[in-house]
């Protein structure tokens, strides 16, 4: 192997930071995210599982259980990684749930609920659904929408299935009502169902009113939580709702929420395709959210991303980093949560590796997604090593090595043949953009059930003319110019200056036809805007130029300048990587 190729390979992979424009250290401060904390906590929990700890909430006569202990360790790790205590509680409960811990168990005492276990481990006060925000989808709402609608309905009409004034004295909280037909067969399920439906409708409406595509997942969960704040959240219900000892009010509310939000009854786990009852999962998380304190928007982003192991996530609004889009890495926790899920169910490392590979392969750009997952796992190991990152590194390292080596060899050949660095980067960028276009056409044809024959980016560059600031003119992510052509169902559509002109005009004028065409390319454009998440293409070019004798600073600057789309924001790490490549090549014998 040529020493320039070896030096480039080693320099680009020497630090996880050299393959992304993301700021990994800032991720550890909790500023906007705390995803590395989730990776670390997943390792903490997995290590405890491997010690044989009892991962179950049970009706045992003891003050303190294994789950309490593990929750404390997980919360501490998350807080060390910048999570606010309430966010650490929610993230812990969510990870423990996916690791296999049940959401609730019990009788009046012990009455153990996973959300409360995690909240008490974090030492935070209880909260109310009205104060729980949704994940940020540019804008955001809160559970207040559901709570408000539910209480308005309680004032306007009579929602219980009987006249409560007829109840005899002394029945408040008694088993006469709570453990018998009145409560279990009528009051709890019937009222729970009504309240949940009201809450779901209100959440969906609030999303739309605030300019967001309604998030079915969070609408369903927060509406259920709001309903469970009112009805008995632990009660067993009549057999028509499900089997005794297995079905409680949260699942009944979940059933109503799933129906009202028009969610599928069955959801699947990424990488394994295992089936889960949507109503059960929604009900369980509603209960967890009700009890875990008051998370912030950042906490809710991380909650959703931790749940993005659900294959239908992209459609339902369950996180965004599970694919197929390659989002900024600060969202990414899917592989960590998936590995924890699998290890919690007894999968071997080999089986976990297979599932992770399959899951990462579902991205529009599987190579970039694999590298992104790898560098996150490697960075997370700085914080906490363990079985989760072990499995993920095993799943992604071979493919990452292949991707970098392939690119390094290509770059070497091009530069050796006398082409300039700019010509090399231009070729690489064109290939990167074409991969996004082809991948999006393939995936969106299935999602939209339309025949997207091709997507061609005619021109992509920084500076759409909407802003005059030099920074916006230089970096694609801040004022991107996009001309695109797409052939859908036999018809060719051309859109010039999509982001600054076509899209806002169509949306604001309610032009459904144009918006429907934009839907076929919007994921590809988003993917372009997020290109810096995995910047191996540019890192390899800069490192190769430096390894072949160019001044490292110049190699970094010229590469970044030429990669005016796929390096969508400033990236100081590129110069360090190029310098390292130059240093390595000098000492190679």
């Amino acid at each position: 192997m040529e020493k320039e190729i070896l030096a480039t390979f080693r320099a680009t992979t020497a630090k996880p930071d050299y393959l992304t424009t993301e700021k990994f250290d800032a991720m550890l401060g909790g500023w906007g995210v705390f995803n590395l904390g989730i990776w670390a906590a997943a390792n903490v929990i997995a290590k405890e599982m491997q010690k044989g700890r009892n991962m179950k909430l049970e009706v045992t006569n003891e003050a303190y259980t294994d789950v309490d202990d593990i929750a404390k360790k997980s919360v501490k790790k998350l807080m060390d990684c910048g999570a606010d205590p309430a966010n650490a509680a929610l993230a812990t409960a969510t990870l423990l749930y996916w690791a296999g811990v049940n959401a609730q168990c019990g009788i009046p005492c012990p009455n153990r609920k996973l959300g409360a276990v995690a909240r008490m481990a974090a030492g935070v006060p209880s909260g109310r659904v009205a104060s729980i925000p949704t994940e940020k989808l540019n804008n955001k709402i809160s559970g207040f929408a559901a709570t408000l609608a539910i209480y308005e309905a309680l004032q306007k009409e009579y929602l219980a299935p009987f006249d409560a004034k007829l109840l005899p004295l002394g029945l408040g909280g008694s088993p006469f009502l709570g453990h018998s037909a009145i409560g279990e067969d009528h009051l709890f399920p019937e009222l729970g169902e009504k309240l949940t439906r009201i809450g779901v409708r209100a959440m969906l409406k609030a999303y739309e009113s605030a300019g967001m595509r309604p998030n079915k997942w969070l609408s369903a969960i927060l509406a259920c939580s709001a309903a469970l704040e009112i009805i008995h959240p632990d009660a067993f219900v009549g057999e028509e709702y499900g089997p005794f000892l297995l079905t409680r009010t949260p699942e009944v509310c979940g059933m109503a929420a799933v129906e009202e939000a028009e969610m599928p009854k069955v959801i699947h786990i990424r990488g394994t395709d295992e089936e889960l009852k949507t109503a059960k999962v929604v009900g369980d998380f509603a209960l967890i959210l009700k009890d875990c304190g008051t998370p912030t928007v950042v906490g809710m982003i991380m909650f959703n991303e931790t749940c993005s192991i659900i294959r239908e996530g992209a459609v339902l609004g369950v996180g965004r980093a599970g694919g197929p889009l390659l989002l900024p890495l600060n969202h990414w926790v899917t592989s960590a949560a998936l590995a924890l899920y699998l290890l919690g169910r007894g999968a071997t490392q080999e089986e976990t590796v297979t599932a992770i590979k399959k899951s990462v392969g579902m991205f529009i750009q599987p190579e970039d997604a694999t590298v992104a997952t790898n560098i996150l796992a490697r960075r997370a190991e700085f914080v906490e090593r363990g079985p989760v990152t072990d499995a993920i590194i095993r799943a992604t390292e071979p493919s990452m090595c292949n991707s970098i080596l392939k690119r390094a060899t290509f770059a070497y050949e091009i530069l050796k043949n006398g082409k300039t660095l700019e010509e090399l980067v231009k070729k690489v960028q064109e290939r990167h953009i074409a991969t996004i276009a082809d991948g999006t056409a393939r995936i969106m044809s299935k999602v939209l059930n339309r025949n997207i024959e091709y997507i061609k980016f005619k021109e992509v560059k920084p500076g759409a003319g909407r802003r005059t600031h030099k920074f916006a003119k230089r970096y694609f992510a801040f004022d991107g110019y996009v001309d695109v052509e797409v052939k859908v169902d036999g018809k060719v559509h051309r859109m010039k200056n999509l982001l600054a002109d076509v899209a806002p005009k169509a949306l604001l004028s309610g032009d459904k036809e144009t918006m429907s065409t934009i839907a076929t390319v919007s994921m590809a454009v988003t993917e372009l805007l997020n290109s810096g998440a995995c910047s191996m293409d540019v890192a390899v070019c800069a490192c190769m130029a430096a390894a072949m004798g160019m001044d490292p600073k110049e190699a970094a600057e010229r590469s970044a300048e030429a990669a005016n789309v796929i390096i969508s924001m400033p990236w100081p790490g590129l110069k360090n990587a190029a310098q390292l490549a130059a240093d390595i090549v000098k000492e190679l014998q």
Binding site: E58, V59, C105, G106, I107, P243, L245, L246, K265, V266, G271, T272, D273, E274, E275, L276, K277, K280, L342, R345, G346, A347, T348, E351, T352, T354, A355
Partner: protein, 139 residues
């Protein structure tokens, strides 16, 4: 006598499956693997022990030729036939089907059944709470 529908409903509850067909698919996967794993005479004996609705499901489950590696481990065979993503998921479903069978057989037939089964330990562990009214696994 238990009906086929009742048995499959019970399996669905024990497995917490999302829909009834999943129960039937699981039972047939476990039976196919068992049928393919056992010697012919053992297979015939086992069939004779099953209550008639279960025998019907047994007869509907195909026999498949298995390779040497699969032959060594019954759960691996279930995993391959059912296309499970990991072995523990297959083991879970085997326990669920066995627990369902146990509920509808008397003790002496169960003992005879155990003597034929390839993985006796798993069958021993496969007990649902309805056997003794204990709710320890569910509360």
């Amino acid at each position: 006598m238990i009906s086929r529908k009742e048995f499959l409903s019970r399996v669905m509850i024990l497995g917490q499956y999302c829909y009834t067909e999943r129960g039937e698919i699981t039972v047939k996967t476990v039976f196919t693997a068992l049928k393919s794993f056992l010697q012919k005479d053992e297979s015939k004996r086992l069939e004779g022990l099953l209550p008639s609705p279960l025998r019907e499901l047994w007869q509907e489950s195909p026999f498949v030729e298995v390779g040497y590696d699969s032959n060594k481990d019954y759960i691996v065979l279930v995993s391959k036939i059912g296309n499970y993503p990991y072995k523990a998921a297959a083991e879970r479903d085997v326990k669920i089907v066995f627990a369902g069978i146990r509920e509808f057989m008397d003790e002496s037939t169960i003992n005879e059944l155990i003597s034929i089964l390839p993985d006796k330990e798993i069958f021993e562990k496969s007990k649902s709470c309805s056997l003794n009214g204990s709710a320890e696994n569910f509360l």
